[in-house]
């Protein structure tokens, strides 16, 4: 491969071993991070040192998903794997800019005056956001969209202008490319009106053909974002207060604006290299060959700053490949960088569009096969070779399921009739077409289908998570995950590894299978079910599952089972059985429901009095409610009698069921709230309380995009917009955190409830035992897109049935504690000892701490047998008078 004007680089010089070499990377972006991570992984024992110099104050972050910053407002969540920086061989300088390279002395000088010596230097300086010259470009209120600092300033500006102007902010994005559309969606999420101005005749003009661009324009306008094509922004004029106020377009029309975001392309940051005298490409960028070496044999360039075959990449995949090439070369390899068409996918906008290859069919004799459905806003086009056999390109708008399947086949035989593939029900036409082993499935990390198959057949991966961990496929942009899942399942089938879905030794079925069997079979007790479908008398795994599904089915079939009634009584873990959570010393916690975290002063007084009377420990838990700890089994009914009388009901903190709906105060109190999130949260909590599910469920409702209720960390997240509610699903805190994914936007109250009804009921029917919604959504075939079709578009025609099942649950709900208090038979079970009901467990022991009591440890030398007394001691230690007086005499306070 020859590079014009750059022949010395085609045969790179023999490299010395890496031992004791000082490597310096200029640029703390994604490519610099990739280089460091890769070098460390490939050479874990190597005796080199690596310094990464980053100009931005943050650790390297995921710029590809910059728009995600708006949902969390936390730049740390964007950070790329930080464990890289724990390697003692690697140091990271942040917030310091490389100012010059001294190639003779071999060091880099930074803005802070530090000289960093190098033996090998890697330039990974990336790009800067270019903007056309336009009068008034420097006015306050005009921004770029490239860094965390940019998005922070944009959010602050919109909020400030909204307050100052006392009305909705009007925003314009100049540039209708992928990033411009993301910026426009971000503006809209911030509550601003959003208009996109694009000089070309269509949006995403570089990636899409005319037809795809037109369909995308319709979809974006459907979202309420205005699109103006064929015009540019020629100048900006200030408003009365000196901030940007008007944009004048190239057709002399004007737009009133309060904020402008430029997204008009990027240019390589090659100033350092220019000043150091390195060869620079005609259109900018540091010239490199396929080894990524520059015209100085001690300097390499990777990512967007590098000019390879006279072009600079603007995507992450080639940058990653270049980083990998340089690492390979440093370690004595001969890998070369090759440019591939990896395609582009629009993300973060809530509209699907993706394309790869020769989208405009410029190849001689190329044939175009298209499916256009303007009613349902779908556009699919395949570009084929003149014999209609080889796939040359594809455009997908409105529905991009085929994109990740077809992209790896570019330049290869499609193996199916192209018109059948893109037909509305064409998915099956592709099922037969097998991906060849060398087809790249994950282009971000350059992982081939063969590698993914080997991870299953040779490395024993059996889940999507394991495949991701083993191969790194699907860990950057995630667009190949559907294809990964298919490859995994097929390979498992082929290897004859039937992943056992058996619950335990008593049932060979998965939870979902058993659910369907019982739904059809109509069995009502464990004995009937285990006789029909299993063996033996069950265990601690299958019994609670059976109890849960009988309870769920009760709500769907009308065969009502109280989760704690006689039929289910012996199947429940102690928590469900006694409707409280067992603690480490065998006592229980009492957590009444406080919908949306609301509590009246009267109720608060009752809680305080109960805690005093029983010596209970009080703590606010993570679910916006009050937990009371240390109640004995025999005390639970008396405590709950008092709570029920005060209007409380069970909080189901013990159940695999809805826990709570968390909310902020919303538009009722908050200056920024746009909807009444508290009322919505109360309504949702009342609707879904008591619903039994495969795992616990949490819901959050935020009153504006600031997301104070952290709804996206919940199974169901609802975030208010000026037009209604955005619905997110499949979020999780806990051990494996996941952000909930957007299911649908701008719902009114009624449709919000409908969608949640459908989502929860589908989850209850399909999920495995103790599978959270996050994992269910991730692992469900087709992912969130397919789920959206089932729930929003009702593609399976089960929407009404799911809603009816939920309606049944709502109609048959009763408070479990109230029902139990009215049932003498059940009340009789709450005894300490069946032959000595008045005696408390003599081994319980308590210790005062911070004004309350806690269970004693083995290390505690002084303990009290009675928590009321322990609390009195604790109160004494805080200087209060003991209500028990002499009763505590002789007991020491520590």
């Amino acid at each position: 491969m020859s590079t014009p004007g750059h022949s010395p680089l085609t045969a790179p010089a023999e490299q010395a071993p890496l031992a004791d070499q000082r490597i310096v990377v200029i640029g703390g972006g994604m490519t610099g991070h990739r280089f460091a991570a890769r070098l460390r992984a490939q050479d874990p024992e190597g005796r080199w040192t690596l310094t990464v110099i980053g100009e931005e104050p943050q650790q390297p972050y995921d710029r590809v998903h910059l728009s995600n910053w708006f949902s969390s407002r936390n730049a740390d969540l964007l950070s790329l794997d930080v464990s890289v920086w724990d390697d003692p061989r690697i140091s990271l300088l942040t917030g310091d800019k490389a100012e010059s390279i001294d190639r003779v002395a071999g060091h880099v000088t930074t803005a802070s005056g530090t000289a960093v010596p190098y033996d090998r230097l890697v330039l990974a300086t990336g790009s800067w956001a270019w903007a056309p010259r336009a009068e008034g470009r420097e006015l306050p209120g005009i921004f770029s969209y490239r860094t965390v600092a940019d998005v922070e300033r944009i959010a602050e500006w919109v909020s400030l202008r909204e307050q100052t102007l006392g009305r909705q902010v009007r925003g314009v994005v100049v540039g209708g490319g992928v990033l411009g559309l993301e910026a426009a969606a971000a503006l809209q999420d911030l509550g601003a009106a959003s208009t996109v101005v694009e000089f070309a005749d269509r949006v995403m003009a570089v990636q899409l053909d005319q037809g795809g661009g037109e369909m995308l324009r319709l979809l974006i306008q459907d979202k309420g974002i205005d699109v103006r094509t064929g015009v540019g922004a020629s100048r900006f004029q200030p408003a009365g207060d000196g901030q940007v106020g008007t944009a004048v377009l190239s057709d002399d029309s004007t737009l009133d604006v309060d904020i402008v975001i430029f997204s008009t392309g990027i240019r390589p940051r090659d100033r350092l290299a220019r000043e150091a005298g390195l060869a620079i490409g005609e259109r900018g960028g540091v010239v490199v060959g396929d080894s990524c070496q520059t015209s100085d044999p001690a300097i390499w360039a990777i990512g967007e700053c590098a000019s390879f075959q006279e072009s600079c990449a603007g995507l992450i995949a080639p940058g990653n490949d270049m980083a990998d090439v340089v690492v390979d070369r440093f370690l004595g390899g001969t890998r070369t960088h090759q440019r591939k068409d990896d395609g582009t996918k629009l993300k973060g906008v809530g509209v699907d569009a993706a394309a790869f290859g020769d989208v405009n069919a410029v190849t001689a004799g190329a044939l175009e096969v298209a499916f256009v459905d303007p009613v349902n806003r779908k556009y699919r086009k395949l570009v084929m070779s003149d014999d209609a056999k080889v796939l040359l390109g594809g455009v997908f708008v409105g529905d991009i399921e085929l994109f990740s399947q077809l992209r790896p086949l570019i330049g290869r035989t499609l193996g199916a009739d192209p018109s059948a593939v893109i037909a509305p029900e064409g998915g099956d036409a592709m099922a037969a077409a097998e991906l060849p082993d060398d087809a790249v499935v994950c282009s971000c990390n350059n992982v081939s289908a063969g590698t993914i198959r080997a991870s299953v057949s040779e490395h024993g991966c059996t889940t999507l998570g394991e495949v991701k961990e083993c191969t790194t496929a699907g860990t950057v942009c995630g667009s190949c995950v559907p294809t990964l899942t298919k490859l995994l399942n097929k390979e498992l089938e082929r290897s004859g590894i039937a992943v056992s879905t058996a619950m335990c030794e008593h049932f060979a079925h998965s939870r979902a299978e058993l659910y369907q069997l019982v739904k059809e079979g109509g069995q009502q007790t464990f004995t009937e079910i285990v006789t029909a479908f299993g063996r033996g008398r069950g265990c601690a795994v299958c019994k609670p599952v059976v109890a849960s599904l009988l309870s769920s089915l009760g709500t769907t079939s009308g065969r009502l089972h109280s989760p704690v009634g006689e039929q289910l009584g012996s199947l429940q873990d102690t928590n469900d059985h006694v409707m409280a959570n067992i603690q480490k010393n065998g006592t229980y916690s009492v957590i009444p429901r406080m919908p949306a975290g609301e509590v009246t002063p009267e109720q608060l007084l009752v809680l305080a009095q109960v805690a005093l009377d029983y010596g209970l420990y009080l703590k606010l838990n993570g679910a916006q409610r009050i937990g009371m700890f240390g109640a004995r089994l025999d005390q639970l009914p008396e405590i709950w009698r008092r709570l029920v009388d005060a209007g409380f009901e069970s909080g189901h903190a013990y159940g695999k069921s809805l826990r709570m709906v968390k909310s902020c105060v919303g538009s009722t109190w908050c200056r920024y709230g746009v909807q009444d999130s508290t009322s919505m949260a109360v309504a949702l909590e009342r609707r879904y309380r008591g619903l039994r599910s495969p795992h616990k469920l949490k819901v959050g409702v935020s009153g504006c995009a600031r997301e104070c209720a952290e709804a996206r960390a919940k199974d169901v997240g609802v975030i208010a917009t000026t037009k209604g509610w955005n619905l997110y699903v499949g979020g999780n805190g806990g051990a494996q955190p996941a952000h909930a994914q957007l299911l649908i936007e701008d719902l009114d109250d009624e449709n919000l409830v409908k969608c949640i009804d459908r989502f929860l009921m589908l989850y209850i029917q399909e999920a495995d035992k103790v599978q959270r919604t996050a994992r269910w959504v991730e692992e469900r075939e087709g992912g969130i897109e397919e789920l959206r079709r089932v729930i929003v578009e009702d593609s399976l025609g089960i929407g009404e049935e799911l809603e009816a099942q939920m309606a049944n649950h709502v109609a048959t709900y009763e408070d479990e504690w109230t029902a139990t208090l009215d049932d003498p038979q059940r009340m009789a079970k709450f005894v300490s000892f069946i032959n000595a009901p008045g005696v408390a467990d003599p081994d319980l022991a308590w210790v005062p701490e911070r004004g309350q009591m806690r269970p004693a440890h083995e290390m505690d030398s002084r303990t009290a047998p009675d928590p009321v007394r322990a609390r009195a001691l604790a109160a004494l230690s805080l200087g209060a008078t003991s209500p028990l007086g002499d009763a505590v005499e002789g007991e020491e306070i520590h």
Partner: protein, 138 residues
Amino acid sequence: MTTQENTMIDICALSDLSIERGAAALLGDVQVAVFRLVDDSVRACQQRDPYSGANVLSRGLIGSHELTGEGEESEQLVPTLASPMYKQAWNLDTGAVLDAGGGEKLPIAVHDAEVRDGRVLVATTPRPLVSDGVETVS
């Protein structure tokens, strides 16, 4: 009463117990857990969970397990108890550990128990602990 004596003590009526659900009982100062199985036979074991140290075993779940023994005794179905705390499981006939959850094998003491004239009787002294605390797990 001396420690050598193994008296059967009347705890409650069989009808006071729910099927496959336990109850705690006091034998002097010894705490035991008593269970009624699906065939109306009864079992008793120590109330203290050896893993957590809390007196909670009566609140565990009853189930069954198929033991794969040798020769004639193969495929014997035994009643099991799972701890409500961390879900370790024992053979309720012998107290041997069936599932230690990957941890140390800590057997539990079982007491003789029987139903006589509709009353549940439990022996005051436990049977000796099983030697190694482990049985073959299928």
